[in-house]
Symmetry: C2
Subunit: 360 residues, 2 copies
């Protein structure tokens, strides 16, 4: 069997060109006689890989010089602790809870200080983004925290909150590099790469320099201090070299395909295809509030659990994989990240049409 | 150019069969239509990968049922904090400092409690393993900590310390799976895999069940709690899937080649080749105490810095890569892990003979 269309929410589809390049160079990277997995992280060859990866990411996102880029381990979940451990100085932080991931981050932060939930959309199963125009930001808050795209509920901030001058910390795991961003709107941007950027095992943290603690924090594990990782340029200990290498290949693939403007154009086109169909369908219904819809994760339901299960099974048989929704929402979810080709979304919509006709 | 002989201390050489398998399955793992990097960590396919990897490791090491196996992120350096955070109950622990890595672990533990150095070999640049027969173990110590093989200095414990009943915690990063072990001699065995087992980005922790805290630890990041990771079978969040997959392939390679008995036989043979030559050489000298020599990392010097540099440069030109020693010892270091073929050590010894003849 050939390649399937993989709608997994993460780990997720990667560009075929990237996989091909990784396979080709597996035993002998650029004639150096070894695999990237075998290289010393202190070698000149790996230094080139990580330096180029950072530069390409800076080019793609337009990251200003006063922001540092860190390649870390532990995924987004480790950042849920690292952010408060490093950024809470007064001991207060404000969280907007728009789904499972921001809720998890908020609960984790409460271990380390007074993390306050200043807005939530839990009243309607997180199907919308809370109103961010009239937030009551605490005067003593060290930062305001959001999860910019909630993978499970398929919602996205299309307008950033007014943080009244407080640094905005955003978990962008499921919308990383999906469209252009203005990095200066944020204090910290972080994401696990395993959804839209690379393989699981790398988290990228983009942090404004003045938010990195100047002194070592006495009771915080050395590995979790942003200062340690920034001072050592992500090489305090052996980094996840292979993952960084694959992210670097993805950055080059994005640059060769119109950068983040190009990514956005393709993502809008793909999402539109699916939303347009959903909005006129009599069988399927998109679950997220229209004005807060994500370009990346699109949950939908039929309203009938048995029919949902039938759809998932038949879709799988047709080469449309991982279309089952998260148990919190039920039904289906199509994650259509950067590397999902338009043909994949077209195939999905065609399949849905057929299924709707057969099950009307 | 073909494959080189890579004597890197880590990340290090991997079996060519493993790299070949990884390349072959890159775009379509076992006919599932996707790469291992693209698979949901909750998928049946990945569950098989991680379950088989754990079982193969259990088979290789003879891990008893009352020990848990965890696949974590952050490398050995993250364990330097995780061990005291999880295991210090009285707040006291005893460390044997036999090199840079155990010293780093000891210093990190001091952040979280009264970590005491009960023996050290720093007086002679860590060229030997401290006497472990007459240790003054503290009555209230929660554990005794060692680094079983010091990568930089090339020393190895050939006899484990008498811990007087306290759990022994061992960092085995650079001797992982190099020879059979009796797991029951340890409370915790951990290692970054990037030296002898797989690619950087995975740490394996083998821990006796009763040492895992029964309750959640209130002020410890969720990700750093052994309980979290054990309860979730290493799937609390997205694990480093690709790295676990490669480790699994290495486990199968070891099983197919005589298990750890086979590995030891080959490792002794390879190390003997190099030590025998070093012991009779008039130019080169091994730096570690004879009785504490490592099978994995073999540092040696000429005593002349310029000559050392010349050797390293000429060795590189001859396809013997990463033979430069660590700055703490100087000179050269040959790391000859499981995946280094005997032919590589033979080539090195031949090259040293030639160099000695030319530079006598």
């Amino acid at each position: 069997m050939g390649r399937v269309y993989n709608f997994s929410a993460g780990p997720a589809v990667l560009p075929e060109e990237v996989l091909q390049a990784a396979a080709n160079d597996m035993l002998d990277y650029k004639g150096c006689g070894m695999s990237v997995m075998e290289m010393s992280h202190r070698s000149k060859m790996f230094e080139e890989i990580i330096t180029e990866a950072e530069q390409d990411l800076r080019d793609l996102m337009g990251i200003p010089d006063n922001y540092r880029v860190l390649f870390l381990q532990g995924g987004g979940s480790m950042q849920f602790a690292q952010v408060p451990l490093n950024l809470m100085k007064t001991g207060v932080a404000d969280y907007i809870v728009s789904g499972s991931w921001s809720k998890k981050a908020w609960k984790e932060a409460k271990k380390f200080g007074d993390a306050r939930c200043i807005a939530s959309s839990e009243d309607k199963t997180f199907s919308y983004i809370p109103d961010v125009d009239a937030l009551e930001i605490d005067d003593d808050a060290d930062y305001v925290y959001i999860c910019e795209n909630e993978t499970i509920y398929g919602t996205k901030y299309h307008k950033l909150p007014d943080t009244k001058g407080k640094p905005l910390v955003a978990d962008v795991s499921s919308c990383f590099l999906s469209e252009p961003v203005n990095v200066e709107d944020y204090g910290v941007i972080f994401g696990g790469v395993q959804k839209n950027v690379g393989p699981a095992g790398v988290a990228i943290v983009i942090i404004r320099e003045d938010l990195i603690p100047e002194e070592e924090l006495p009771n915080v594990p050395t590995m979790l201090q942003y200062k340690t990782q920034a001072d050592a340029k992500s090489l305090y200990n052996t980094p996840p070299c292979w993952g960084i290498y694959i992210c670097g290949l993805v950055f080059k693939w994005l640059k060769a395909n119109g950068g983040l403007e190009g990514a956005k154009r393709r993502n809008v086109e793909k999402a539109q295809l699916l939303y347009d169909y959903l909005d006129q369908s009599k069988l399927f219904k998109a679950t997220a509030a229209k004005e807060d819809r994500s370009l990346m994760n699109i949950p939908f339901v039929t309203g009938d659990k048995d029919l949902d299960a039938k759809f998932v099974a038949e879709a799988k048989a047709a080469g449309l994989e991982n279309i089952k929704g998260h148990r919190s929402v039920g039904g289906m979810r199509a994650s259509i990240y950067n590397a999902m080709p338009k043909a994949g979304v077209e195939a999905l919509v065609e399949f849905m049409k057929k299924f709707e006709a057969e099950n009307a």
